[in-house]
Symmetry: C2
Subunit: 246 residues, 2 copies
DNA sequence: GCGTGCCTTTGATCTGGGTCAAGGAAAGTG
DNA sequence: CACTTTCCTTGACCCAGATCAAAGGCACGC
């Protein structure tokens, strides 16, 4: 998808930049991190890691979209995390992953061998601090998602997801979106359904309903236009302040 | 409820013991923490904190049960966390809370003023490390709950909750439960419903169904007996290994 | 003992979203 | 260009769980 979009330089000298630490890292700290980092790419659709298998590396997403899913044998699947560039995979202090990680688009990771990384952490307070912040942000996001899964209607769920996508699309260039915007859904209907706790049929139906109501426009399979962001926001079921954490 | 059960000495010299740091803290580190700690109690039903209001303190639960909930104006409410003794409330680096915190039973908190606590954190690597661990555990728990909310049937949800309760009941004395056991539900049907993304009627119906199927016994309103834990586990919809993180 | 509330159970009915089934549409492939 | 394959949409029908409504307990104060 956009593997090539983010240059090496964007990932920067410090490999877990973006939401991560590096703005606060000292040069020598970066040196240490750089010594154990390496890049790895996965084509769209490929499994990056499977629940329960020992985890060799931790990584930061440089480009592409990956998903974190949890499922039961009978096939029911729930996405529990959407990983966009700057998100972190894996966790210090755990040697197995609790979830399946899958590349949705072509994905490039900036990896660190877990053991050395953990050892390094002890000397890198900035990184540890940033990891805590990120974990807490993810926790908030997960909890917001719990409200969605437990209490929201199908239409509200779709609207919430689109809102989330818009918000997360803003970030890379730091540009603030106007009232109207256009997003490329980085995921299939199936992934959307798994994220929202719905079926693909319901996702499809609600999308067309939102289109018919003039809340969104649909261009092809993946592009959504949003003529009035406020109108979409009003469909999410959230409080005005738009509590959803991205 | 059991306010008196946990003695001051159990909370120990280090106030965020239990799941928290203190086993690894040095004596002088404990000293520092103790200087800014104080206890606070809330009767059952009382609101401990409201979403959005500035957060003065962080705290560790010493006794009782509290809930973390997120809700929308129209009354829909989703519980996003069940706080039992040893759990932590609040987060360093955020000055407002994202959720409502409510005492379900009588609750005793071990509080720290947030600002001094945050400053202290800089010098207490053990505590920071432990906070990260706890955040990651909570994240895993939240994600497991997402699977429940997104994909499980009402019966599976009830069974999962009971299983969770059993597992969390074990901890305080470290005693391993036998195959059969008895738990006191610390929460009302309404709280269960809000936790599970169901209505109280459905919760009630599924509980009686499980009773009629011999999976559980119901004694009064709050006590549940589980003659065969394996049978209950089989109803949760989870993999055999019982992946649920407590 | 007798209300008065609160929580819980049970019943009857309704409905949002699931399930099953049948077509499109776009992209690749030989 | 026909021929899969993959993804998406649409329709018809169904059912788990929501909603609406009515009783039980049980604990409390008077």
């Amino acid at each position: 998808m956009n593997t090539a979009k983010i240059e090496f330089s964007e990932c920067g000298d410090c490999p877990i930049r973006h939401r991560a630490v590096c703005s606060r890292c000292e040069t020598d700290e970066l040196e240490q991190l750089n010594k154990i980092k390496f890049y790895k790419s996965y084509p769209a659709g490929q499994t990056i890691a499977i629940r329960g298998e020992p985890l060799q590396n931790v990584a930061s997403i440089v480009a592409g979209t990956a998903t974190l899913t949890r499922s039961i044998e009978d096939g029911r699947t729930q996405m529990v995390g959407l990983l966009l560039p700057s998100d972190f995979i894996g966790r210090p202090g755990r040697d197995t992953l609790q979830y399946d990680v899958t590349a949705v688009s072509d994905v490039t990771l900036c990896c660190f061998q877990r053991k050395p990384f953990e050892k390094l952490l002890e000397d890198l307070p900035h990184v540890r601090e940033r990891l805590l912040e990120m974990a807490l942000d993810e926790l908030d996001a997960a909890r917001d998602w719990m409200l969605l899964l437990g209490r929201k209607t199908a239409r509200e769920r779709i609207a919430s997801l689109l809102t989330l996508m818009v918000k997360r699309t803003i970030r890379p260039d730091g540009e603030v979106m106007g009232n109207s915007s256009r997003i490329e859904l980085p995921i299939t209907r199936e992934a959307m359904a798994n994220y929202l706790g719905l079926t693909i049929e319901t996702v499809s139906r609600q999308l067309t309903k939102l289109k018919n109501d003039g809340i969104i426009g649909i261009e092809g399979k993946r592009a959504i236009t949003i003529p009035d962001l406020g109108a979409l926001l009003a469909e999410t079921g959230d409080d005005e302040d738009g509590g959803m954490i991205v």
